[in-house]
């Protein structure tokens, strides 16, 4: 894999993570427990769509032949999507979506802090913009983790159940995909494994304050980096890509 291909793959992974997170959060539109939270979550979704567009545009530009951000989003099948599995799991309840966003955003604060120093100037600029957004996503969801964990017995039970369900999927966040070693060596990408220590420390602190327990399971679920997904991604793409599949090249 050439360096250019590796950068394209790396940006595709980051872009896919943003796009699928955005999709899941936008599903809360009109259904969140509070009107204000409805606005907050869909606002986050818009942040993520914007980030996905920038990253997929960059990834598409580096390919031969080049592809637009829209082609990247609408013309790839699930096996070509490289997002982490954790972002595609369905929203089962509010606690699940909040705990997931908290876990992922805590990681993304570390990731985009590091990437804003990338030697790839375009990627560094995207990361610097994303960092402001993910810091707020983290602060907002960490606040909710405290409220849910230390709230009522019902909210605590739901938050803990979500944590148990999501935990095996967190490990994939800290893994690199094949061919990305040279990007780390050249200071273009950041080795995701280095973000684990600060991430777990931060997550442990918040969970302890929220009277939630760190899951004990050692089970690990992975596959997204090689395009092996849960059954849920196909359903997302069916809806997401419907218009471009039914009416190719439709514009509005």
């Amino acid at each position: 894999m050439s360096q250019q291909q590796a950068i394209a793959q790396y940006c595709t992974r980051l872009g896919d993570n943003s796009l699928i997170q955005s999709y899941r959060l936008s599903e809360w539109c009109s259904k969140a427990p509070l009107l204000e939270e409805d606005l907050a979550l869909t606002n986050f979704a818009l942040d993520m769509t914007g980030r996905a567009e920038l990253l997929l545009e960059l990834a598409g530009k580096l390919q031969t032949p080049t592809r637009t951000a829209d082609e990247m989003a609408y013309r790839r099948g699930e096996r070509q999507y490289l997002n982490d599995l954790i972002v595609e799991l369905p929203n089962t309840d509010f606690a699940f979506s909040i705990i997931r966003q908290f876990l992922v955003s805590a990681f993304e604060v570390q990731l985009y802090t590091a990437l804003s120093q990338s030697t790839h100037t375009e990627l560094a600029a995207i990361a610097a913009k994303a960092l402001k957004e993910v810091k707020y996503h983290y602060a907002h969801t960490a606040d909710w983790v405290l409220r849910l964990g230390d709230g009522t017995p019902e909210s605590n039970r739901r938050a803990q159940a979500a944590l148990e369900k999501l935990w095996p999927y967190t490990h994939e966040l800290f893994e690199m995909a094949a061919g990305e070693d040279t990007l780390v060596a050249n200071g273009i990408a950041t080795n995701a494994a280095t973000h684990y220590a600060p991430w777990i420390e931060q997550v442990e602190t918040v969970l302890a304050e929220a009277t939630l327990n760190l899951p004990k399971t050692t089970h690990r679920q992975r596959g997204g980096h090689t395009g092996i997904h849960t059954e849920h991604l196909g359903h997302i793409l069916t809806e997401l890509q419907y218009l471009q599949r039914a009416y190719p090249n439709a514009i509005w």
Partner: protein, 96 residues
């Protein structure tokens, strides 16, 4: 009437730029001040409307009674000599 399950309301005041007055923007539901600030941010500042936000519990606002509107406000309106426009400007006074 069904019970309001949407938490207490908070009034939101926003400053458009440093030094400007804080202007009432609307209200949000929230459990406490921290949540009220975040909700105000997400509800009212999405298109760059503000640089600073105040939130105040709605219950802390003391409002005038609409039934006492006559007593409160009318006396000010029927004395036109209170208004600067009542007085004609002397012709020679250019600097006023």
């Amino acid at each position: 009437m069904t019970q309001d399950t949407q938490l207490n309301t908070w009034e939101v005041f926003m400053q458009a730029r440093s030094g400007a007055n804080y202007i009432h923007a609307g209200s949000v539901h929230a459990a406490d001040g921290e949540m009220a600030l975040q909700n105000a941010r997400d509800t009212y500042t999405r298109r760059g409307e503000g640089t600073s936000i105040w939130v105040v519990p709605t219950s802390a606002i003391v409002a005038s009674n609409p039934d006492e509107q006559d007593m409160f406000f009318d006396p000010a309106n029927d004395k036109i000599y209170r208004m600067p426009t009542f007085y004609t400007m002397p012709e020679g006074a250019k600097a006023i």
